[in-house]
């Protein structure tokens, strides 16, 4: 079996998972979430008003038809219109994607690079004071609520010290940069703890392998051993870890976008949650699920390509 047929087989598995995701979404939002018309129209709506709205929204159609609507939207990306803004959801997503990416892409890239550098550095001095200090700082950073970071950063750094924009967004390069700087910094602080811990564990797992002892006995320097032998082995779990996080960028940084008024996908999602805008919630859920599944296929395929030991059967 070659890599192409393997990829194809893995892609086939996407179909039952998408059907499953559609089923869960359908069950949660169409069957059991309660009558959305009551939320949309408020407490004082009459029964006939509610029935009319239900008809308008297609909620009186048979369950199977409603389920197929969900499945169809997963393949056509035709999610219908938002209940609250009446816009085409696909257009909303297109508009929100760019602001989200201007925040999440640089933040993700910078935090990953930073975490890998820090973890290689502490692995080199493993067991020493610096290593233990960094590990402790990572755990301590992870022990603070993400909301607290955002609140404090926005209030202290942006409002009190005036170092950054408090909130808002302007589209187009380079105008958006001042608005995403502080969110990027907060993102890095939020992710450096778990990332460094993960990468450090990966690198240390490799450092105690027998092949490292062989490399030392060949006369290689610690630097070459770490950057050539260890890093190439560690890259396998690192690539997996990085790739599998990418689909989560789709939802953007939900909290960061909403606090800093960045009109991205995260803000769209949060507004939909607050306004019980089911079509938008469903669309965002389907979209991020599909991204997650596709990336897990991509990760598996990459894994086969990077690791010579993996044999396809």
């Amino acid at each position: 079996m070659n890599i192409y047929s393997y990829t194809f087989r893995r892609l086939l598995y996407v179909i039952p998972v998408v059907l499953g995701v559609s089923l869960i979404i359908f069950v949660l939002f169409n069957l059991v979430a309660g009558d959305p018309t009551a939320i949309l129209l408020g407490k004082h709506a009459s029964a006939s008003q509610m029935a009319e709205l239900r008809h308008e929204l297609g909620l009186d159609r048979p369950w199977l038809a409603q389920y197929f609507d969900v499945v169809r939207s997963a393949f056509t990306f035709d999610f219908g219109r938002s209940w609250s803004t009446k816009q085409e959801i696909f257009e909303m997503i297109k508009a929100g994607a760019i602001p989200s990416l201007t925040l999440s892409f640089p933040a993700f890239f910078l935090s990953t690079v930073l975490a890998i550098i820090v973890s290689l550095f502490v692995s080199f001095y493993r067991g020493g004071v610096v290593d233990r200090l960094v590990v402790f700082v990572c755990v301590a950073l992870m022990s603070i609520s993400s909301l607290a970071y955002i609140l404090f950063g926005q209030w202290f750094l942006a409002y009190y010290l005036g170092l950054f924009e408090i909130s808002g967004y302007e589209s187009g390069f380079p105008y958006f940069i001042p608005y995403v700087l502080l969110p990027i910094i907060i993102w890095m602080v939020l992710s450096v703890g778990p990332d460094v811990r993960f990468y450090r564990t990966v690198v240390l797992d490799e450092i105690y392998q027998d092949y490292v002892r062989t490399a030392r006995s060949k006369g290689l320097s610690e630097r070459v051993i770490l950057f050539k032998h260890v890093l190439k082995n560690a890259m396998i779990p690192i690539i997996t870890y990085v790739l599998i996080k990418i689909p989560f960028l789709i939802l953007g940084a939900l909290l960061l976008e909403s606090f800093f008024s960045i009109p991205g996908l995260g803000s769209i999602t949060l507004n939909a949650i607050n306004g019980s805008d089911f079509p938008v919630i469903k669309a965002m859920t389907i979209l991020s699920s599909i991204a997650y599944i596709l990336f897990s296929v991509f990760t598996d395929v990459m894994y086969c390509l990077v690791d010579p030991r993996v044999r396809l059967k």
Partner: protein, 329 residues
Amino acid sequence: MADKILDVKDLVVQFNTDRGVVTAVDGVSLEVFKGRTLGIVGESGSGKSVTALAIMRLIPHPPGIIKNGVVKFRGESLLDKEMVDMRKIRGNKISMIFQEPMTSLNPVFTIGNQIEEVLELHQSDLSKEQRHKKAVEMLSLVGIPSPEKRIKEYPHQLSGGMRQRVMIAISLACEPDILIADEPTTALDVTIQAQILELMKKLQKELGMGIIMITHDLGVVAETCDDVAVMYCGKIVEQGTADHIFNNPRHPYTKGLLESIPSFDATTGDAKDRLPTIEGMVPSLFELPEGCSFQDRCSKCISQCRQPQEVLALKEVATGHAVSCFNHY
């Protein structure tokens, strides 16, 4: 006698552990000669591997530390060398192969890459093509069929015996003066074991290096070694030529080891009635008894053996044959 290339004197290696300091190697002295093989025999935990790693200065620090001793390689003191200079010795003048052929090679580099790496490091005057040619030569020297093809393969594509051959190719690529082999055949099938030992003997004849053969298997010693040191709890208890050790063992521990080798009568095919064993267990290095470490398992133990103030040291009982036992004082 032949050319002495390695001279170890009073080597002491300690490890700091949660439970305190242990002395894994306690005053070991050894000599290695050109073209000869020295066997270091002992049970696991006797300090034989630590001795080898200490010679290479590969003791992980912390927790390990070389507390005392002199290691002279062709007259140069290895323990006083800067790490930069020590690295020029490793893999070049003194090489090492390990017990675990399955994991000792880096899984994500081709075997050619791993042989060429050591050449690139120590023989930097070779061009890329020359390194490749040499790597192929080494593979064919260690008996790997179709080396031109194999050189592009990854370790997982090779069997354990083949991987150990690759390890030998790596370690001999720079034609070292000493090869330290730490249980090189323990993880292999018996037939493969014999092939690897044969290969090492053949290469020793061709290249003339000294070998330190670390093993718990007296069969391996009998087959390959010229000189033998028997270790117990970090100390050498008996040292001599293979002939001394096998035909005239003097230390009760050596005798016990030899008696516990299974053998059968070649004429009848019957196993010996009952295999004698050494009673008891190796004491923990944390709780070594005062006096001789072997006292609790020794049938010849006398009161002197239990005296903490008595100094027990290797004592020559014949030319080139030394024993550390009060029964011979």
